[in-house]
C-alpha cells in the first residue's frame, strides 16, 4: 500500500498529501469511539446488547429498558466520551504549544481555574440563574487562570519550565480557594461537592450532554483544521517565524481553544485529572507527531480513557459508584512519573 496519497487539482494549484497510516488509525479510533457510544450503555447489570440499545434510543424497544438506557446510561456514556474528547484535544494542543511533554490542563492550573469558578457558581448562583450558564462560568474561570499564569510567567517570552512551575503554584492557590468556598458554603453537602471535584460522571443527564455538545462539536474540528500551524511551531519559534508564521498570534488562538475545551469539560464532569496528559502521548505513539492527525486521535483516545474509567467506576465496586477521576489519576500519576524518568535529563 502506498504510504502517501497525493491529491492534486488539474493544474496543480491545490495539492494535498495524505499519510495513509495515521489516517487509517485515526479513522479506527473514531470507529472505536462511536462503537463505545452504542455499546457502553449496555455494560453493567442488567446487560443490554447494542440492538436493544438502538431500539430504545429510537423509541421502538420493549418498555422496561427505556429508563435505564435512555435516562441513565446513554447520556452518561455520551458525556464521558465528549468530556474525554475535549480534555484529550486540549492536552494535545497545550503540549504542542509549550513543547513540553509534561504539560496538561490540570497540571498548569487551567482545570483548577474552571473548578473554582464552577464551585462558586454552583454554591451561590445556580439556584437563581439555572445550570445553563455553568459552562460559560467554568470557561471564564479557566480563561482567567490561564491568563494569570501566562502573565506571571511572562518575562520577555514564556519558557515552558517557568510556565509549568508557576502553573503548579497558581493551581495550589486556586485549590485552596476551592476548598475555602466548600467549607464556607452554608448547608451545602460537602461530600457531594467533593465527589464532583474528584471528577464524576455520576448523574450525567441529557441536559449535561446539551451543555457540552456544542463546544465539542464546534471547537474540536476547528482546532484540527487550524492545527497544521502547530507542525511548523514544533520547529521552534525562530524557524517558524522565519517560515512566515506569526507565532504569538497562533499560539494565543490555540491556547484559547485549549482553555475553552478544558473549561467546558470541567464544567460538566468536574476535574478528571491526567487525561489531557496521557491521551496525547498514547496518540503520538499511534499516529506520530503530525498535528492534524494527532489532535483528533488524542481526542478519541481521551474519550476512550474517560469512558473506560467511568465504566470501571460504575461496575467494579457496584453498588458503589466511584468518581472516574480517581481511576484516571491512578493511571495518570504513574504515567507522569514514567515521563519524568524518561525525560530526566531535560529538566
Amino acid at each position: 500500500m502506498a504510504r502517501q496519497i497525493n491529491i492534486r487539482s488539474k493544474k496543480n494549484t491545490i495539492s494535498f498529501q495524505i499519510d495513509v497510516k495515521p489516517l487509517l488509525v485515526t479513522l479506527f479510533l473514531f470507529i472505536l469511539t462511536a462503537a463505545a457510544l452504542f455499546a457502553g450503555p449496555g455494560l453493567g447489570d442488567p446487560f443490554f446488547n447494542p440492538v436493544e440499545i438502538g431500539q430504545s434510543l429510537f423509541g421502538i424497544g420493549s418498555g422496561g429498558n427505556e429508563f435505564i438506557i435512555n435516562t441513565l446510561r446513554f447520556p452518561r456514556a455520551a458525556v464521558s466520551l465528549l468530556a474525554g474528547l475535549c480534555l484529550g484535544t486540549a492536552g494535545a494542543i497545550l503540549q504542542g504549544i509549550v513543547r513540553n511533554p509534561l504539560a496538561s490542563p490540570d497540571i498548569i492550573g487551567i482545570t483548577g481555574g474552571a473548578a473554582v469558578a464552577a464551585v462558586i457558581y454552583i454554591t451561590f448562583f445556580q439556584d437563581s440563574f439555572g445550570i445553563q450558564w455553568l459552562p460559560f462560568t467554568a470557561i471564564g474561570g479557566a480563561l482567567m487562570a490561564s491568563l494569570l499564569i501566562f502573565l506571571i510567567s511572562w518575562n520577555e517570552g514564556v519558557t515552558p519550565i517557568r510556565l509549568v512551575l508557576i502553573g503548579i503554584g497558581v493551581s495550589a492557590a486556586i485549590n485552596a480557594c476551592t476548598m475555602l468556598i466548600l467549607t464556607l458554603s452554608p448547608d451545602y453537602s460537602a461530600s457531594q461537592a467533593y465527589i464532583w471535584l474528584t471528577g464524576s460522571i455520576y448523574g450525567a443527564s441529557w441536559e449535561n450532554l446539551r451543555l457540552l455538545l456544542p463546544w465539542a462539536v464546534l471547537i474540536v474540528p476547528m482546532t484540527v483544521i487550524y492545527s497544521s500551524v502547530l507542525n511548523v511551531q514544533e520547529l521552534g519559534d525562530d524557524t517558524s517565524a522565519g517560515l512566515g508564521l506569526s507565532v504569538q498570534k497562533h499560539r494565543i488562538v490555540l491556547l484559547l481553544c485549549s482553555v475553552v475545551l478544558a473549561g467546558a469539560a470541567v464544567s460538566v464532569v468536574g476535574t478528571i485529572g491526567f487525561v489531557g496528559l496521557v491521551a496525547p502521548h498514547i496518540a503520538r505513539l499511534l499516529v506520530g507527531r503530525s498535528f492534524p492527525y494527532l489532535l483528533p486521535s488524542a481526542g478519541f483516545v481521551g474519550a476512550l480513557i474517560v469512558f473506560s474509567a467511568d465504566i470501571v467506576a460504575r461496575t467494579a465496586f457496584y453498588p458503589s459508584d466511584i468518581p472516574a477521576g480517581i481511576f484516571t489519576a491512578g493511571i495518570g500519576a504513574p504515567f507522569f512519573i514514567y515521563l519524568l524518568v524518561k525525560h530526566r535529563n531535560k529538566f
Partner: protein, 337 residues
C-alpha cells in the same frame, strides 16, 4: 543573598524581637475568637481556675490547646523545611512540595477507613511511615538524571506523587462516606478542636528531633558549602543526610498526623528567616522554629476572625499566604542558581 541583620548584635536583638512576636501571637491566640473574653478571665484561668466560668473553660479547653498545637506544628514544619532546603540545596524543598503531607494523609486515611484503627499512637506511626515513603520516593525521583536534583524535577516529582496518593485517598473516602465527613475538615488542615492528648504521645519524639536539628547548625553550614567540599573537610555526609532525613520525617510526619495537610509553612519560613538573619544555619534553624510557630498561630487567629462566626481551616490560610511566595521564588529565586 543579602540579609537584613548583619552584625551579631543586631541579630540578637532580632532574635529577641522574634521571641516577643511569638509571645504576642500566643497571647492573641488566647484572646481572639468567637466568644469575646476579657483579659482578666484569661489570667484567672491560669492562676485561679474556676470551672463554672464558661469563658475560663473555653480558654483552657479550646484556645490553649490550639495555641500550643500552633506552636509545636508551626515550629516543626518550619524546621523540617529549613533542613530539607539545606539537604537538597533547593529553595523550593518543603514538606508539602515533597508530597510528605499527601503520603502521610494517605496512610492515615487507610488506617482509619480500611482497618478501622482507633489508637492514636498507631495512626501516628503510620503517618510517619507514609511521610517516609512519599518523601523518599520524591527524593529518589527528583534526583535521577544527569543534573541531579533540579528544582523543576523535584516539584514535578512531588506533584506527581501527591496526585497519586491523593487520588488513592479520595478513592477510600468516597467508598466510605462517613469517613469523609470526619476527615474533610482535616484534609484541608486544621489545628482546632484537637485536644492536647493527641500531642503527648509524640511530643517526646518531636522534642528530640527538634533538639537534634538545633545542634546540627554547624554541620549544616559545612554541608551547605557543597557535598564534595564537606566530604573533604572530613564530614561524614552520608550520616548527616540520614540524620536530616530522619528528623524531617519525624517533624513533618507527626505534624500531619495531628493537624492534617498544612502547607507552605515549611517553604516560606526558612526563606524569611534567611532573609533576616543570613545563611548561617545556627541561626536559621532555631529562628525558623520561632517564626514558624508565630506564623501558624497568626494564620490560625486570622482563620478564626475573617469570616466570623465561621472558621476557615488554617491549611487554606497558609496556602493562600504561601503560594504567592512560591510563585515569587519560582520566578526570581531560581534564576540565580
Amino acid at each position: 543573598m543579602s540579609h537584613l541583620l548583619k552584625t551579631k548584635q543586631s541579630r540578637f536583638i532580632g532574635a529577641f524581637a522574634a521571641v516577643l512576636l511569638l509571645l504576642f501571637t500566643f497571647c492573641s491566640s488566647l484572646y481572639f475568637g468567637q466568644t469575646s473574653i476579657v483579659i482578666e478571665d484569661i489570667v484567672q484561668a491560669f492562676t485561679q481556675f474556676n470551672s463554672s466560668s464558661t469563658n475560663q473553660v473555653i480558654v483552657l479547653d479550646e484556645r490553649l490547646p490550639r495555641a500550643v498545637l500552633g506552636i509545636v506544628i508551626g515550629a516543626s514544619l518550619a524546621v523540617a523545611g529549613a533542613l530539607m532546603q539545606a539537604l537538597t540545596g533547593n529553595p523550593l524543598a518543603s514538606p508539602s512540595i515533597f508530597g510528605i503531607n499527601a503520603g502521610a494523609l494517605f496512610f492515615v486515611v487507610l488506617a482509619i477507613t480500611l482497618f478501622s484503627f482507633s489508637s492514636l499512637v498507631h495512626i501516628m506511626w503510620l503517618a510517619l511511615l507514609g511521610a517516609a515513603v512519599s518523601g523518599l520516593l520524591v527524593f529518589l525521583l527528583g534526583s535521577i538524571g544527569r543534573d541531579g536534583m533540579t528544582p523543576i524535577k523535584v516539584v514535578l516529582a512531588g506533584s506527581a506523587i501527591s496526585a497519586l496518593f491523593l487520588s488513592m485517598t479520595q478513592a477510600m473516602l468516597v467508598l466510605d462516606e462517613n469517613g469523609l465527613q470526619q476527615v474533610l475538615f482535616w484534609l484541608s488542615g486544621s489545628i482546632s478542636g484537637r485536644s492536647l492528648d493527641m500531642l503527648y504521645p509524640i511530643l517526646p519524639f518531636i522534642l528530640i528531633a527538634a533538639a537534634g536539628a538545633m545542634f546540627m547548625g554547624k554541620a549544616l553550614n559545612v554541608f551547605a558549602t557543597g557535598e564534595d567540599v564537606a566530604k573533604n573537610l572530613g564530614q561524614k555526609t552520608n550520616l548527616l543526610k540520614i540524620g536530616i532525613g530522619v528528623i524531617v520525617i519525624i517533624l513533618a510526619g507527626s505534624s500531619v498526623s495531628i493537624a492534617g495537610a498544612i502547607g507552605f509553612i515549611g517553604l516560606v519560613v526558612p526563606h524569611i528567616t534567611r532573609g533576616l538573619f543570613g545563611p548561617d544555619y545556627r541561626w536559621v534553624v532555631p529562628l525558623s522554629a520561632v517564626l514558624g510557630a508565630s506564623l501558624l498561630m497568626s494564620a490560625d487567629v486570622l482563620a478564626r476572625l475573617l469570616i466570623m462566626p465561621q472558621e476557615i481551616p488554617v491549611g487554606i490560610m497558609t496556602a493562600l499566604i504561601g503560594t504567592p511566595f512560591f510563585i515569587y521564588i519560582a520566578r526570581y529565586g531560581l534564576t540565580k542558581r
